[in-house]
């Protein structure tokens, strides 16, 4: 099961990097959006699987992170971390989208290469 998640992380991350490297800011925004999913899934992997191997050979599925529901519980900490991360990625996404709008209004274009030729960083001035 961990393997499935690892594949998901690999694929989602690859696509996300591919989009981030794109020439259009809209693509970049989508790529960053996907990056969040990849990060969340990799944190989720750290809690292992929800399956508990029994000594006598069988396996049982652990309960959710609520006390008294099941005799065994999955690790609640990664879940708390991801929950925080999701809400933060919401804020980031909203900010990014606003940036897109503003960028479009200011520069009238959303092409990374075109934008780069304008806003080149300047060196400190000589003393």
């Amino acid at each position: 099961m961990t393997l499935f998640l690892a594949i998901c992380v690999t694929v989602v991350l690859s696509v996300s990097v591919y989009l981030i490297l794109g020439r259009e800011l809209k693509e970049v925004a989508m790529g960053l959006f996907l990056l969040g999913h990849a990060a969340h899934l990799s944190i989720l992997m750290m809690s292992g699987t929800p399956v508990l191997m029994q000594e006598q050979g069988g396996a049982i599925i652990k309960g959710g992170p609520v006390l008294g529901v099941s005799s065994h519980m999955v690790d609640p900490l990664p879940q708390a971390l991801i929950l925080t991360a999701i809400v933060i990625s919401f804020a980031v996404m909203a900010f990014l989208l606003t940036l897109l709008v503003v960028m479009h209004r200011r520069a009238d274009r959303l092409d990374v290469n075109d934008l780069a030729s304008e806003g080149r960083p300047q060196l400190l001035t000589e003393l």
Binding site: G48, L97, G119
Partner: protein, 1045 residues
Amino acid sequence: MHESEFTLILLAVLAPVIAGVATLILPRRATSGRTILALAGPALSVYLLGSVVTQYGVNEPAVTVAAVEDHEAGHASSSNEEHGVVDTPGTLYDDLTLGSNAGSDYAAPSPAYQDSPDSGVVGIPFMESLHLDLTFNADPLGLFFAFLIAGVGCLIVLYSRGYFGKDADSLFRFYPMLGLFATAMLGLVLADNMIAMLIFWEMTSISSFLLIGWERSNPKAVRLAVQALLVTGMGGIALLGGVLLLGVGVGEWGFSAVLSAFATGDLARPELVPWAFLLMFLGGATKSAQWPFHFWLPGAMAAPTPVSAYLHSATMVKAGIYLFARMYPGLYLLESIIPWGEILIAFGAITMALGALLAIRSAELKKIFAYTTVSQLGLFTCMYGLGSVTYVHDGHAAANIIWPITQILNHALYKAPLFIIAGAIIHTVGKKELHQLKGLLRSHPLLAIICLAGCYAMAAAPFTLSFTAKEAFLYQIFHATETMPWVNVVAVLAALTAIFNMAIFIRFLMTFLATPEVETRIEHDAQGEAHAHDHGDHAHEHERGFWGACLWLPAFLLVAAQYVGGVAPAWFGELVLPFETAPLYWSALPGFFEMKMGAPLITSIIGAVLGILLGLSPFLRSPLEDPHNKLFPAVYSSVQRDGGRIFSMLQPGNFRVYVYLVLSAFVLALGGSIMLDSGLWSFPEAVRIPQGVTGLLMAVSFFSFLVCASALAMPFVRSRIVRVLVLGGVGFSVTGLYLLYQAPDLALTQLMFEIISVILFLLVLRMLPEEPKRWHRIDRVRRGFFAALVGCTVGWVVLQVAGQADLSPDGGALGEWFGAQSYSDTLGEADGRGGGGNNVVNVILVDFRGYDTFGEITVLAIALMGVFALITAAPAKAVKRVVKYDDIPREAYYVPEGAQPGLTTSLFRTSMRVILPLSLIFAGYVFFKGHNEPGGGFIAGLVAATALAVYRMAEGPRALKSLVPIKPGPMAAIGLGIALLTAVVPLVLPGEHRGAFLQSYNGYIPLLGEDPYHWASATFFDIGVLLVVVAVSLGIVNRLTEEME
């Protein structure tokens, strides 16, 4: 630990800055009151330090230099035999010591350090795990420097008043900076914790920077200030590295503890110690202007003269010397493994001779004194170096250092007055260069005499304290030559320095005695009487009375001490003795008549005679520009030019280049570590597919497939609307995975998040232009390849890490702990530890990691502000619709004002009217159940916000406003306020209930029914979270939608 001692020392350290800043309160014109208030700071420091000494005494140093250690015994006896000097010290020098065989008294193998628990270090712990404690140690070395700093500080405050005259604006600016410096310097010398010392050290660099660049409009002064800051700042960084390495290497973070550890040889990681000392040497050498870093000190003369007198001769530049002195007792013991002494001697001796040479070739008064300061600092470095190379005495290895503190004091007692008087001469006469001052003795006898008295002391002539100090240094050298013939080179350099110093005195004398040149006098008469000249750093008029006398009085007092020390050395020695760290060999200070004939005295005499001859001769008269002055500008411009080249290579301004660079480095680092560790080459155990849960397995593989498939479809989809939907598809599939991984909270949150973000994406995309031309194929292949590389590397690492996951039955060690703590079982009795909830995830969020959550909702609020600010800063351009709305005419059916045409169908609106209340009720349910079952503030907030946002699209802003009357901004503020209040309340609760920041309480409220209602204070915190989430989501959606309309 004496708490009151700590308080006294802390007050003594802080007094100057408090007084300095307090002067800002006074009206600008109140120059006298300002001076008196500023004077109160260092004066109070002197008084407080004095009461520390009288009440608690002077702490014994952790390691005394005097001790002859058996550590060195082997080395000592072997070198003894080699050089055959066993008897020499006795015959040559014992008659020179005034006490009865004082050498062997001090040099007896006595215990090297006091290992008593009461080491005299006082302080308060601050962050013990990081070794950051504010500790002070009132030992002789620290107290000596502290008295010097505070004492000279008092005089400098007075002198500043004389120097700046009634220039109220300058004094207004000057005193706070001076106070800051004095505090930094006092802290530096009294701090025992090395990191605290370092912080004070940096503070002195900064105040020096501010004072050198005093004339802010003068580009040269600013450049020199930057030069001083960068040189000493680099040294500060080296010192930081040194201190950290030393702390780790020794395992102690206080100077006294470190030195004790040296004495016992009990080091945590001895191999680090030499590196630590190398770095610390760099720090000290830059601060104390050792060659090749000495050039900043003459440059620092751009500062007003009070600063030169105080910072750049008497105190700050001695910080490096202080550091060497501080470490010296321990280094002396470590000499066999670190050639510390040799390093110090080499750099010190070069600096000493070079400084003296440059001094005699300088024309400006302040430059001359600056270079002699450099020379003298080199001498001190050399002195501690000589002390570290142990000298063989009566068959023992003995410390080879004589009255070092007195030598340092001696320098302050003639160099500070020289600077003061140089400032006074420049101020009164208006001339900066020596050759312009002919006949000064006749025109300004008082200034000339004080100046000559200072120069006489600088030449180390008889009847000054300087003379004794120089003899002490020469003795040291000749002690050392006995076992190490190469020290003779140092002797020659020292003799050269003495010659130069004497020659400088002679030149001053001859210049002041000479008849003034005619043109100079005319020029002087023309402007001198008018008192209207201006010499750069301030405008002023001359004064009479006490304040006018302040221009020379401090110099007079200091220089007088020189002669007291020279005439009555024994009495003066008694005065200094409590602070003297190594009164070896001489139990009292010898005066001129008590000197016995010997190599040192002969050297002095030869030096003096040659010096007088050189002074009268025409040699070495032309000014010489120090070639090192080109060093810094060259390095600086190279850094700018070549740095600029690299900068523009790495920072082309194209976002994609950055991404490529960062990710390449990332992949290289990760991939490299995988390559290096063969343990990471195989699949981890955890990947094993579990038996007996086929259903779960199938479901996980199904959702994983969905995630991968929809993600992979992204690059191939052309229509952007479909693209956003596919993007949503990834998210919804991830939601499924969360469910299967037993994370209902996550699933719910993700679901809401996905809905709201798909809506936002669609809204925004409609505002943006259509896609431009597609990429050509090569680029797509390259991108794809690179992306796959990144993905695979990270995927593999994540797999490996997951293989290491703690798979114990109850969710890993941390999970188990949280599980056990999240619900305190004691009914009705809040023990203050548990969060009082069954839903561990929620308890973690609002209780255990509440700080985190608090920070997070703050970030949310900031994002909201950012969105508002960005949108407002770039208002929509006049009607430029990029995207055509649907062709259906607006009038075709009823559309509420402000609502989205095209979105608003009757079906949509009608269904929203039903869905909205249901959603809100659900949000409330999720919220209140949250602490014990899946749910909580975040989720409830997102549910409510999603519902409201969709409702707004259907019914328009007015409908929403009537439903939620409060604006998003204030709502977020209220939410944050509630969260903060919940966090703070435990701090102010009375008595036993008082708790920490964000402490939670829970208990049971008896209700009429069977079960008492369980409440937790974290609920209020959660309300805050809920409000912020609703406000932020709604605010952003609102804002973006408004923009479209």
